[in-house]
C-alpha cells in the first residue's frame, strides 16, 4: 500500500511538472491583494447579510489567499455601487452582489448603467417572496384574503414593502392587476421594518422575503398565505406548530397568478479575463458546499438554482425583458 502510494505521488509530481510547463501562466489566476465586495444596498438587508455570510465562510474555510472586504455603496438605490464597479474596467479585485435593483434602478432613476456593462460571474441563489398577513387577521388562506380585497373599495388594504419602484412594489402592482383592485402601497427602508409594521398592525399585508419575516412567523405574529413561485418550497423543517415552508401553497394554486423571484448573483467589472471570472465561479462553487451556506439557504428558504456562463447570461437577458415589461406597465420608467 505504502509502495503504491509513493509510486502514485511520483507519477503525480511528474505529470504536474509536465502540465506546468505546458500551460500558460494565466491559467491559475489568483487575487494578489484584498478583493472588494461591493454591496449596492444598506447594512442589515438581505444582500448585505448574504455578502457578510460569504465573507465569513470564505475566511473561515480559507477559500481565498487574500481577504474579502465588504463595502456598502447604497446611494441612489444601489446605483452608486453599480457605477463604481462599471467604472473599474479590468479590475479583477472587485466583485458586486446584485439584487433586483440591478434591473429596476436604471429603469426607475435613469442612472446610466445596464447589467451588460458588468461581467456576470454566477447566480448564487434566487430569493423567494411570500404574501404575509398579521396572525390576528381572520384570513387563513390566500383565497380568503383575495376575496376580502375584492369585496372592499379600492385602496382599503395597505401593502407595505421595501423601497419604491423595486421588487416589492412590482409584485404589488402585479397583484392589483390580478385582482382588479388597488392596494395602498407604503414604502419602508428595509424588510425587517416592514415585518414589524405588519406585526404592529400598521399595514395589512407584506410580500417579505422568507428570511425577513421568519422570526415573526415562529413567534406566531404573522401568517404566510402563499409563495410567489411556480412550485412550493422544498424545506420541511417545522417552523410554527406543524407548519413548515413546504406547507405554504403557491399563489398560483390559490388563484393569484403572480410569480416573482429575486436574483442573488455576483458580477465583476467589465473587461476582466475569462480566467479571472473562472476563479470566482470556482470559489462560489466551493462556498456552496460548506455547511454554513447550506444552513443560510435553509434559514432563508432560498431557491438554490446555481448558474454561470452563457446559461446565466441568457437568464439575465430574459429577466431584464420581464422587468422592463412589468415596470412599463406600472408606469415606473424614469422620464415617463
Amino acid at each position: 500500500m505504502k509502495h503504491l502510494h509513493a509510486l502514485g505521488l511520483g507519477a503525480v509530481t511528474a505529470l504536474g511538472m509536465t502540465a506546468l510547463s505546458m500551460l500558460p501562466a494565466a491559467a491559475a489566476w489568483e487575487p494578489t491583494k484584498p478583493v472588494e465586495f461591493i454591496v449596492p444596498a444598506g447594512t442589515g438587508g438581505g444582500a448585505d447579510q448574504m455578502a457578510r455570510t460569504l465573507q465569513g465562510i470564505i475566511a473561515k474555510h480559507d477559500l481565498m489567499s487574500t481577504q474579502l472586504v465588504v463595502i456598502n455603496k447604497s446611494g441612489g438605490a444601489g446605483g452608486e455601487g453599480f457605477l463604481d464597479v462599471k467604472s473599474n474596467k479590468g479590475n479583477p479585485h472587485k466583485i458586486v452582489i446584485s439584487l433586483s435593483n440591478l434591473f429596476t434602478t436604471p429603469l426607475a432613476t435613469g442612472i446610466p448603467f445596464n447589467w451588460k456593462d458588468l461581467t456576470p460571474v454566477a447566480m448564487l441563489a434566487l430569493d423567494e417572496f411570500v404574501l404575509w398577513v398579521n396572525a390576528q387577521e381572520p384570513y387563513k388562506t390566500a383565497q380568503e384574503y383575495e376575496a376580502a380585497i375584492k369585496a372592499a373599495p379600492d385602496n382599503t388594504f395597505k401593502m407595505g414593502g421595501t423601497g419604491s419602484k423595486q421588487e416589492d412594489q412590482i409584485i404589488t402592482v402585479a397583484i392589483q392587476k390580478a385582482l382588479g383592485k388597488k392596494l395602498t402601497y407604503i414604502p419602508y427602508k428595509g424588510g425587517g421594518e416592514v415585518a414589524v409594521q405588519l406585526v404592529g398592525g400598521h399595514i395589512n399585508s407584506s410580500v417579505n422575503n422568507p428570511i425577513e419575516a421568519v422570526s415573526q412567523w415562529r413567534g406566531d405574529k404573522v401568517r404566510p398565505l402563499c409563495v410567489f413561485d411556480s412550485k412550493p418550497l422544498p424545506y420541511t423543517d417545522k417552523i410554527q406548530g406543524d407548519l413548515s415552508w413546504s406547507s405554504v401553497p403557491t399563489c398560483k394554486s390559490a388563484g393569484l397568478d403572480v410569480e416573482y423571484l429575486m436574483l442573488r448573483g455576483v458580477f465583476m467589472p467589465p473587461g476582466v479575463t475569462d480566467e479571472q471570472v473562472a476563479y470566482f465561479v470556482e470559489l462560489f462553487k466551493k462556498v456552496r458546499e460548506t455547511p454554513e451556506w447550506k444552513q443560510l439557504m435553509k434559514d432563508g428558504a432560498f431557491n438554490q438554482t446555481f448558474m454561470a456562463g452563457d446559461e446565466f447570461k441568457a437568464w439575465l437577458d430574459q429577466a431584464e425583458t420581464t422587468h422592463k415589461g412589468l415596470m412599463q406597465e406600472a408606469g415606473f420608467i424614469a422620464g415617463n
Binding site: 444598506g42 447594512t43 442589515g44 448585505d48 447579510q49 457578510r52 455570510t53 465573507q55 465569513g56 475566511a59 473561515k60 465588504v70 463595502i71 455603496k73 447604497s74 446611494g75 441612489g76 438605490a77 446605483g79 452608486e80 457605477l83 426607475a108 432613476t109 435613469g110 442612472i111 385602496n155 395597505k158 423601497g163 419604491s164 419602484k165 423595486q166 412594489q169 395602498t184 402601497y185 407604503i186 414604502p187 419602508y188 427602508k189 425587517g192 421594518e193 415585518a195 414589524v196 409594521q197 406585526v199 404592529g200 398592525g201 400598521h202 399595514i203 428570511i211 421568519v214 422570526s215 415573526q216 415562529r218 413567534g219 405574529k221 454554513e292 444552513q295 434559514d299 415606473f332 424614469a334
Partner: protein, 504 residues
C-alpha cells in the same frame, strides 16, 4: 415573571463572568474607545470590520466583544466632543454645547468625568429597565407606526425651536438648510433622484458625519486660526483627583439625570433613537434648571443631560433589535447581521429559545459598562493633558484626523472636499451667529421625518387627521406643539402674572 428574569440574569452573570469573556470586554472597550476617538470610523464601521473575526467564537463571546466595542465607541465619542468640539456620533453633538466651553476654560477633566459618569448612569438605568420589563417594552415599540414616529421627530424639532438660545427665526433658517441638504439623493417614497443634478457623487446624499466633521471640526479650527492660533482658555491643570472632585458635585443633578434617563429609555424603545433623546434632554434641562441661562457657557449640567439620555437610548435600543429584529442604529444593524450568521434569529422567540444567549448578553451589558467606566475614568487626566500641547501643533493633527475620518465614511475622496466646504459653511454661520445644531439635527433626522410624514399620509389617503387619530400620537403631537410655542406661552404667563417676575 420578574423573578424568572432575575434567575436568568444570575445565570447570565455566570456566563459573562467567565475570565475569557472579561478579557474580551477589556479588549473590546479599549478598541471601541480608539474607534470612538477617531471621527468617521464610528461604532458601525468598527463592528463591521471586526465581525468576521468573531465567527470562530461562541455567539455569546462574539456578541460580548462586539457590544463592548460599541460601548467603548460611545464613551470615546465624548472625548473628541469635549476636547475639540468634534462630535464623532450624532448623539454627541449636544455634548459639545457645554462640554467644549468647559474644556476651553480649563475644566476638561471635569467635563470628561461628568460625561463618562453620566453615560454610565444612563446605560445602567436602561439595562435595569430591560431586565425588569423587557417583554412589556417590546410590546410598546409595536405601537409605533409612521404617524407616531413622525410625532416623535416633530417633538424633537419643535423642542429645539422653542428651547433655543438664539432667536427662533435663525434656528428655523439653520434647520431649513439642514432639511434641504437632507433631501439630496434618492427619495425613498417615489424612488426618484432629487437635487443630484446628474452628479454621481451626490447619489448618496450628504452623510451626516461629513457635515459634522466639517461644520464643527474644521469650522472650529478656522475660527481659532483667525484669533491667532491661540487655544482660547487656560491649559488644563492636571489633577489626578479631578474624578473624585467631580463626583462629589454630580449627585446635585440627580433630577436632571433621572429625567434624562426616562427620556432616553423612551426614545430608545421607540425607534427614534439616541440623537433626538440627547437634544431633547438638553433642551428640557436648559428650560427647567436654575442655571438654565448659563447653558452653552460651560455648565456641567449641560453635559450630564445629553450624555445620560443618549446612552440610556443607545442601550434601550438593543431591546427592539433583540425582541423585534429591528435595528435602532447602524451599529445595531451590523450586530443584527452577526446574530444571523451565528444562527440566532432575533425576534419574539429569541428570549424563549436562546435564553442563555440573551441573558448572557444582558449580564455583559452590566459588566461591560462597569469595566468601561473604570477604564475610561483612569484615562481622564491623560486625555485632558492633550490640551496642553500648543494649538499650532495640535491643529494640523486634528485636520489630518478629520480628513482621514471623512474619507473612511465611504472610502471617497469627494467626501474630503465636501468636508472642507462644510468647514467654510460652519465658519460663516458661526460668524453670523446662526446656530449649527439645528442644521445638524435636520440633516440627521430630516430624511426619516419626511419619510414618516409621507408614509402616514399615504396610509391615511392624504388626511392630516392621522396625527390625532389615537391617544398616543395625539399626546406626542400636543407635547410638540407646546414645546415649539413655549417662548410665546412663557411670555403669556409672565404677562398674566403682571410682570412681577422675569421670564425664565
Amino acid at each position: 415573571m420578574i423573578v424568572d428574569n432575575f434567575i436568568n440574569l444570575y445565570h447570565g452573570f455566570y456566563i459573562a463572568g467567565d475570565p475569557f469573556n472579561i478579557l474580551l470586554m477589556v479588549i473590546g472597550i479599549l478598541l471601541g474607545v480608539i474607534i470612538g476617538v477617531l471621527p468617521g470610523l464610528g461604532g458601525a464601521n468598527g463592528v463591521a470590520i471586526l465581525l468576521p473575526l468573531t465567527f470562530s467564537m461562541s455567539p455569546t463571546s462574539a456578541i460580548i466583544l462586539l457590544t463592548c466595542i460599541y460601548w467603548g465607541a460611545l464613551f470615546g465619542g465624548a472625548i473628541t466632543s469635549v476636547l475639540f468640539n468634534i462630535p464623532g456620533e450624532p448623539w454627541s453633538v449636544a455634548t459639545t454645547f457645554d462640554g467644549h466651553p468647559m474644556a476651553r476654560s480649563g475644566r476638561a477633566g471635569e467635563a470628561l468625568t461628568a460625561a463618562f459618569t453620566s453615560s454610565f448612569v444612563g446605560a445602567f438605568f436602561a439595562i435595569v429597565m430591560i431586565t425588569l420589563i423587557a417583554p412589556l417594552v417590546a410590546q410598546f415599540a409595536l405601537q409605533f407606526g409612521p404617524a407616531e414616529k413622525f410625532a416623535v421627530y416633530f417633538l424633537a424639532f419643535a423642542s429645539f425651536v422653542g428651547m433655543s438660545k438664539e432667536p427662533p427665526a435663525k434656528t428655523i433658517v439653520s434647520m431649513m438648510i439642514g432639511f434641504a441638504l437632507a433631501a439630496v439623493g434618492l427619495d425613498m417614497v417615489t424612488g426618484q433622484l432629487r437635487l443630484t443634478f446628474g452628479v454621481t457623487e451626490l447619489l448618496n446624499g450628504f452623510d451626516f458625519l461629513i457635515a459634522v466633521i466639517g461644520l464643527f471640526g474644521i469650522g472650529e479650527i478656522l475660527l481659532t486660526m483667525e484669533e491667532g492660533l491661540e487655544f482660547r482658555g487656560k491649559a488644563a491643570k492636571i489633577d489626578p483627583k479631578v474624578v473624585w472632585k467631580t463626583w462629589k458635585t454630580l449627585p446635585k443633578y440627580w433630577a436632571t439625570s433621572l429625567r434624562s434617563c426616562i427620556i432616553g429609555c423612551w426614545m430608545g424603545i421607540t425607534p427614534a433613537g439616541a440623537t433626538p433623546a440627547s437634544f431633547m434632554a438638553y433642551g428640557i434641562a436648559k428650560r427647567v434648571s436654575k442655571n438654565g441661562k448659563n447653558f452653552g457657557n460651560g455648565e456641567i449640567e449641560g453635559v450630564v443631560a445629553p450624555e445620560t439620555a443618549a446612552h440610556a437610548a443607545g442601550t434601550a435600543a438593543m431591546l427592539p433589535m433583540l425582541a423585534l429584529g429591528v435595528p435602532g442604529s447602524p451599529t445595531a444593524a451590523v450586530l443584527l447581521g452577526g446574530l444571523l450568521i451565528w444562527g440566532l434569529q432575533p425576534g419574539p422567540m429569541l428570549f424563549v429559545e436562546q435564553a442563555e444567549f440573551v441573558w448572557g448578553l444582558i449580564a455583559s451589558m452590566y459588566l461591560g459598562n462597569v469595566v468601561g467606566l473604570i477604564l475610561v475614568l483612569t484615562t481622564v487626566p491623560l486625555f485632558a493633558s492633550i490640551l496642553r500641547i500648543p494649538f499650532s501643533i495640535i491643529a494640523p493633527v486634528i485636520l489630518v484626523i478629520c480628513a482621514i475620518g471623512a474619507y473612511t465614511v465611504n472610502n471617497n475622496v469627494f467626501d474630503v472636499l465636501m468636508m472642507m466646504v462644510f468647514g467654510v459653511l460652519g465658519y460663516l454661520l458661526k460668524k453670523t451667529n446662526y446656530p449649527l445644531a439645528p442644521l445638524v439635527l435636520a440633516i440627521v433626522l430630516g430624511d426619516s421625518a419626511e419619510e414618516a410624514f409621507r408614509q402616514s399620509l399615504l396610509g391615511s389617503g392624504g388626511s392630516l387627521a392621522v396625527f390625532w387619530s389615537n391617544p398616543l400620537v395625539s399626546t406626542i403631537m400636543a407635547l410638540g406643539l407646546i414645546a415649539g410655542l413655549w417662548p410665546l406661552i412663557a411670555m403669556g404667563f409672565s404677562k398674566l402674572r403682571g410682570n412681577t417676575t422675569q421670564p425664565a
